[in-house]
């Protein structure tokens, strides 16, 4: 059901039946260390290259997410997901090991929000089960967007640390004690002209603010309706900027947090925090899902954010557009 300009509330119940998270070695020392289902002991994970490790990560996470609830990949209507690497190789290559239809998506670091939105609509319709999975890897992203790993460069204080990790969720019609996807607000691509590829939080904050404000206008809800409004990978500066932008429009977000800025502890010195397509899916499949299951969180607005840049677009002097999708996730017994 369409509400307002960009918001859709689902008529049928779409359950998040299962979730599985896999974190890299650096992430496993961060703030969420007690919440991950599995931890990689090293970056290459016994693979020949970091790219192959990322393929293996997604394959593993999807497999474990399904086997946890005894669902065969053949029972799923589709696998849906994406990552940051050119031609979304890790996601599409991981899907070749399952005999399941596949849909590859790309919305930079907001891919998980896009996947949840599309998959929940399909499960709301004729699909029975869909797996959503995104991943990112520090080494593969670093090579594609920045410099070789061993090059002695100095990170700027605004920069973020690409999360090594992957998270998968299974959306299903099967009723049970699971959290539900209740709807979503699809975001617009917004560009405020920032050109510094190191300051992605600043580039994404206006898109996140736009999506969140549109969501409140469309639904008529106030920020207090949610226990937690959690963005994807804005970082500390991006989170503050988002808070400031929303306050200017008259929305005080007291329950705002950000997956990226929560990811690492202060002594890890990861700049503004974590980023990457795997950042929000990892946090969602570990910390948020567990909190939703044990009912310490009942209503959340999950807002993955993405900065749509490539190395070439930045070199050609293009500014960095941002995007954000807001997904409403609630506990059923509360509704």
């Amino acid at each position: 059901m369409k509400v307002g300009k960009q918001t859709y509330l689902l008529d049928n119940k779409v359950y998040i039946q299962s979730a599985y998270s896999l974190a890299g070695p650096y992430e496993s020392k961060g703030n969420f260390r007690d919440y991950f289902d599995c931890v990689m002991e090293d970056d290459e994970w016994k693979c020949k290259s970091h790219e192959m490790a990322e393929i293996e990560m997604q394959r593993f996470v999807i497999g474990e997410c399904l086997s946890r609830v005894n669902v065969s990949p053949l029972d799923c209507g589709a696998i849906m997901g994406g990552d940051l690497i050119n031609q979304i190789v890790p996601t599409s290559f991981s899907a070749r090991d399952f005999h399941t239809p596949f849909m590859g998506l790309y919305n930079a670091c907001a891919t998980f929000g896009e996947a949840l939105s599309i998959a929940s609509t399909l499960v709301n319709g004729d699909f029975d089960k869909i797996v959503c999975c995104t991943s990112s890897h520090y080494a593969t992203a670093e090579r594609q967007y920045r410099y070789p790993l061993e090059l002695g460069t100095q990170p700027t204080p605004e920069s973020q640390w690409t999360v090594t990790g992957s998270g998968a969720v299974l959306l299903s019609k099967k009723a049970g004690e699971y959290p539900l996807v209740k709807g979503y607000t699809i975001g617009r691509v917004l560009d405020f002209g920032l050109t510094d590829p190191n300051n992605m939080g600043g580039a994404m904050a206006p898109a996140a603010a736009n999506t969140i404000i549109t969501h409140f206008k469309d639904t008529g809800r106030s920020p207090d309706y949610y226990d937690l409004i959690i963005t994807g990978d804005l970082g500390r500066f991006g989170r503050e900027t988002l808070h400031y932008l929303c306050k200017k429009e008259g929305y005080e977000l007291n329950n705002l947090n950000d997956c990226g800025s929560m990811m690492y502890c202060d002594k890890q010195k990861a700049g503004q925090g974590g980023s990457g397509a795997g950042c929000c899916s990892l946090v969602f499949a570990s910390y948020l899902y567990k909190k939703l299951v044990d009912k310490s969180l009942k209503k959340i607005l999950f807002v993955p954010t993405g900065a749509m840049l490539s190395k070439d677009s930045a070199l050609q002097g293009e500014s960095i557009p941002g995007i954000a999708h807001a997904v409403i996730i609630e506990r059923e017994d509360f509704y």
Partner: protein
Amino acid sequence: MEDKQYMEYVHANAQKSNHLVTLVWAFIVGGIICCIGQGFGDLFKFALPNWEKSKIAALVSMTMIFLGSFLTGIGVYDKLGAKAGGGSIVPITGFANSVVSPAMEFNKEGIVLGMMAKMFVVAGPIIVAGTVSSVASGIIYYIVGLFQ
């Protein structure tokens, strides 16, 4: 909010580098690297008293390039660079690092099209600028020589 207003907000509020700390680190680490080079120079002069000065200088460069490459290979130089910034980029060890690190990174795509093709992605501009400026200074030197 207008684009321009937002840009101003970001420029005013984004975290900036602490120049004093980074400059001091660059000075200390860069200085130490140069002192090590000088130390090798003195050592070689002492060990090989019959060698010309230019040969000793070449030997020092080779030693420092080896050290930079070796530290890159064992994964130390990037950690040094994260702290020292320009201090570890400017000396010749930094140049070695900028050649060895892509060679290591792209080795997975094969020897010819991976390692050999991509070895100079970082150092390439330095080589081009160095070659062009040496040609330009040679021409100036030649022209100035004509009037003497």
